[in-house]
Amino acid sequence: MPAWLDDLLWTYQNLVYALGINGLLALSMYVVLAVGQLSLGQAAFMGLGAYSSALMTLKLGLPFAAVLPLSVVAPVAFALAVGGPTLRLAGVYLAIATIGLGEVLRAVYLNVDLFGGALGLSGIPERATAAMIYGLLGLAVLGLWLIGRSGIGRAMEAMREDETAAAVMGVPVRRYKMGALLASATLAGLAGCLSAHVSSFIGPNEYGFEPAVTILSYALLGGIGTPLAPVVGGWVLTLLPELLRGVSDIRLVLNGVIIVLAVLFLPNGLLALRMKRIGARTAA
């Protein structure tokens, strides 16, 4: 590795980690949006992954090779408990139940001694590396891209456009919705585990309402045309406050406004719009 690259990575280490982890989170949002569902539990799933993996490392002393795969267990279990009843119902129920999940878990982390209360858990060893984070991100993008091009991907698109019609055509709607939610919980759990093991500290307020909505803004900025789009959306929103110093104070206001504008005026996301235009030009 050349010296300047090494230098650069060292200086911006945290940013490099954050970009990869936020990319995974954006994908975890993409998976549910891709089947036309809105889950706001990504931050909660991430928190479950972070807390459970940190406890496994700190209290049980497990090696990271075991902790990383095991970190998806708790988020997936909660996704099953919340998704079971709500995915049968109209979409708003999932959104409500997952917002509720985030609020409750925050209260639990704050009040139960095992989770360290308001102080959170600290002294988590730095076991994750940038290579792991970007390796997983690459695998996730590739996997989702392949799924998107398969028959399952077309079925997911059909569900997103018109659920009833898709069900009539024989798409197992509920199974796909549950599958998407579980995949989403898995990705968010891994992201939580990785972020806990690069930052050495986790606290109850990192997984509340604000991060949940921020993750949604990644996906809405990028659009959900391809798996890469939400990742790029997440990168833009992670880099923006770093590049513009004045913006960092109102970062969350900006994220909120982006969601509003994206829903009102750009239902396909910023990047989807661009891709379509480029495609249209080459076709013509």
Binding site: T86, I99, T214, V257
Partner: protein
């Protein structure tokens, strides 16, 4: 001890019911889970706090703060939702737009005012307490119960006893038909937003009085209770929200008193999940679910 806990629970539940009434009314008529609703709650409390610091008595601050929150609700509804209503966007779009809106509003408010907990000036309500046997009821609690009862009675009178209420109920039933019958649905929607905002704002002031802790994000922590109450009561069901709100208040106080105070939030959520598993249309629900 038990009787005292019951009284405290009912009083807490009354504020939950008041908060959830506006939420469920908004959903029932406008068919939108409007997440900015929690913001009206914070706005009402902060407005009342500001007026109280200017020297206004609670009798002035409470109604004015409620009306102010109502006006905020009308403006936000117009900015965020009229366009989506016109193109008949799917309900998840409306949910997302209010979600983005509320994040922007809360964070703007927090960076303006700071995240600190503020307290009402002492003496805004008399600190006297009434004793009935062993039960102690503070003047603030009497005010909360009285104001809640008054607002609920006014809402029921409006909905059941006036032509305006009839128009709103017609719109809840079938907006297109209501419009064909000559109801100005745009105006009715604004009115419903206004009423909901007033109820949330009044709820914010009363909860602020009850716990004497006011901060920009107080509406967000209240939303979990709002969700539980409107789903347990049945989405859009006013009577259900009233009963579920009272029940939730009692259950929370009992949990805090006899089990563990840290479990209050968890209990609310367990109820939510249990109801979604067993009776998703709500305990008192006439089912109006759109199943896929």
């Amino acid at each position: 001890m038990l009787a005292q806990q019951l009284v405290n629970g009912v009083l807490l539940g009354a504020t939950y019911a008041l908060f959830a009434l506006g939420f469920t009314l908004m959903f029932g008529v406008l068919r939108v889970i409007n997440l900015t609703y929690g913001f009206y709650f914070s706005a009402g409390a902060l407005l009342a706090l500001w007026m109280a610091r200017q020297g206004a008595s609670i009798w002035v601050a409470l109604p004015l703060a409620a009306l102010g929150a109502g006006c905020i609700a009308v403006v936000l509804d117009w900015v965020l939702l009229t366009r989506l209503r016109r193109i008949q966007a799917p309900e998840l779009s409306s949910l997302m737009v209010t979600l983005g809106g509320v994040l922007a509003l809360y964070s703007a408010l927090t960076s303006w005012l700071g995240p600190d907990i503020r307290r009402l000036p002492p003496g805004i309500v008399s600190v006297d307490a009434f004793h009935i046997g062993d039960i102690r009821v503070t003047a603030a609690q009497v005010l909360i119960l009285g104001a809640t009862a008054l607002l609920v009675a006014a809402l029921l009178l409006l909905m059941r006893g006036t032509r305006l209420g009839l128009a709103i109920r017609a719109m809840a039933e079938k907006p297109d038909a209501a419009q064909l019958m000559g109801i100005d649905t745009g105006r009715a929607a604004a009115l419903v937003s206004f009423i909901s905002g007033c109820l949330a704002g009044a709820g914010g002031v009363l909860i602020g009085l009850n716990f004497n802790a006011i901060h920009p994000y107080m509406g967000e922590t209240m939303m979990l209770r709002g969700f539980v109450v409107i789903i347990v009561g049945g989405l859009g069901d006013i009577r259900g929200a009233l009963l579920a709100g009272l029940a939730l208040g009692v259950i929370e106080v009992m949990t805090a008193g006899y089990v563990a105070s840290g479990l209050k939030e968890a209990v609310a959520f367990l109820i939510l999940v249990a109801v979604l598993w067993t009776r998703p249309s709500g305990l008192f629900g006439r089912a109006v679910l759109r199943r896929a």
